[in-house]
Symmetry: C2
Subunit: 302 residues, 2 copies
């Protein structure tokens, strides 16, 4: 992992900005009713890799913007991701007891509060997005476009739709590649794609740049989910902070279940190459973060 | 109910506009994954009284606007209301089997789809709100303000917070008036208040008009919830389409549980009077709808 040391430095710096912004935006634990704010903070901090908001910031930087310009949107996307994890873990969904090495929200706060913490996070995300004064140099038309894009990507023709297909696939004997790709595209790739798109749009990128960064995001998102499926099958439980072989137990439609581990690795590698190619229009020194991040996605162990 | 015939005519006309807008905006049932769109449409149609979007339209009309100018916002508020009902009915929340005389969403589609239908509706609401081209004469700054207001009113310092307090109160032996008022204000009144505020802002109302319409909404919202509590205690099950005495079974913090039925009626009457007084700055012929609606809230049986 030596070769990624520059990337890790970049990630740490951006992660700090994201965590600070989230901490100042989310109501303090004592805000009534305090249970809901405790549950939301439990889910958000210390949090995971913050990959989506980091991608949002990186896209803005490539387009000539700064992290500060896009933090409300970057953090809104992280809130939406976090709400989706809380709801996915519920007993009526994947029924998972652990996430990132800790008991899931419903194990600590109960199911009702877990449902409401997810609901509350989704509203908070749109509150952050529409907080015009939180953007140092706001273009209200760009913010509106980003709200629309994020609403669509997170909804029934995006993330929620992917989760529905994921749950429905559990009931089936066998899964097709088409089915798995529908799930991956909707459940994971569209929110990763919109992370880059939002960063690019807010930073004032042109149409072609937005398109290329979106393509990178979609391809990276698909690769990311395939690697997730592989780790769910043969990963290290300690590093993952959750049990492996769970997908198989639940009869999930995963990439390895359809094309095997090697076939999945090949597909992820190909997608990462295509993702990097989409960046060919940008100068090399501008897109090193996204290129290294794409390589890193292939090597990640958690 | 003879005296309300003009009001009912008004409501019917606006209801048709709302239903048509919702029907054209919500993805058709066959949009994949179709289950989620079937569940969302099952929850939205035929729907209930549509009181929130009608209030939004009425506020716009008082401020000189038209129903068309605010339909995306009015319908977004109805989507948010509908999502909150789906989640409130879940087994881990109020565990209700019937709503408006029909089995609840989770009874028909299962719990996982019910959670996701609620989630999807919330994203669809913000998609509708941010669909600039859906407003005939859009002021993007006003739309942004409305998105912010609705995000706050629906979140942890609004509707979701009220639902948390409502659920937490169930575990207590006795309830205080303060507790009940916190629940009513947050769970019900803030979304009704924002319905009027959104309509007024989008129609270009001045600061004072927005304030007065918001005050009307807050007072009406509190009265509406008190009447709801009364109906939950002594209403007619057939008219309500759901069982009565359920609040008592769940040991809910309700107005009648703290001040009795007569005390609740007095409070609701007083709030309705105050709501109507807030409209004193408007010409009489402009605000008859809101005044009659306030009177009707006291008399409603479902």
């Amino acid at each position: 992992m030596e070769k990624f040391s520059r990337l890790f430095g970049y990630i740490e710096e951006r992660k700090r900005l994201i965590d600070d912004w989230l901490d100042s935006f989310i109501p303090p634990e004592e805000t009534p009713p305090s249970t809901i704010h405790k549950a939301i903070r439990y889910a958000l901090f210390p949090g995971g890799k913050r990959i989506r908001p980091i991608l949002c910031i990186a896209a803005a930087e490539i387009a000539g913007g700064r992290a500060q310009d896009v933090l409300p949107a970057a953090c809104a996307i992280e809130m939406i991701h976090t709400y989706s994890l809380i709801h996915d873990d519920l007993p009526c969904m994947d029924d998972d007891d652990f996430r990132r090495g800790r008991p899931t929200v419903h194990k600590v706060f109960g199911e009702a509060i877990a449902v409401l913490a997810g609901d509350g996070l989704l509203s908070l995300a749109f509150e952050a997005l529409s907080s015009v004064s939180a953007y140092p140099d706001p273009s209200i038309a760009r913010i509106m476009t980003v709200i629309q894009e994020i609403a669509v990507a997170s909804g029934t023709r995006g993330m929620v739709g992917g989760q529905v297909a994921d749950i429905e696939a559990e009931g089936k004997q066998t899964h097709s590649l088409e089915e798995v790709e529908f799930i991956h595209l909707n459940k994971t790739a569209k929110m990763i794609e919109v992370s880059l798109k939002a960063g690019a749009i807010l930073a004032g990128a042109g149409h072609r740049e937005v398109e290329r960064l979106s393509e990178y995001g979609r391809k990276l998102g698909l690769a990311f989910q395939i690697v997730d499926d592989i780790l769910g099958e043969i990963g290290d439980e300690k590093k993952l902070g959750k049990p492996v072989k769970r997908d198989r137990e639940l009869n999930k439609a995963t990439y390895p279940s359809v094309v095997g581990i090697e076939g999945s690795r090949d597909r992820a590698r190909k997608l990462v190459e295509e993702a990097k190619e989409a960046l060919s229009i940008f100068e090399e020194e501008k897109c090193w973060v996204l290129k290294e991040l794409a390589d890193f996605v292939l090597m990640r162990e958690r």
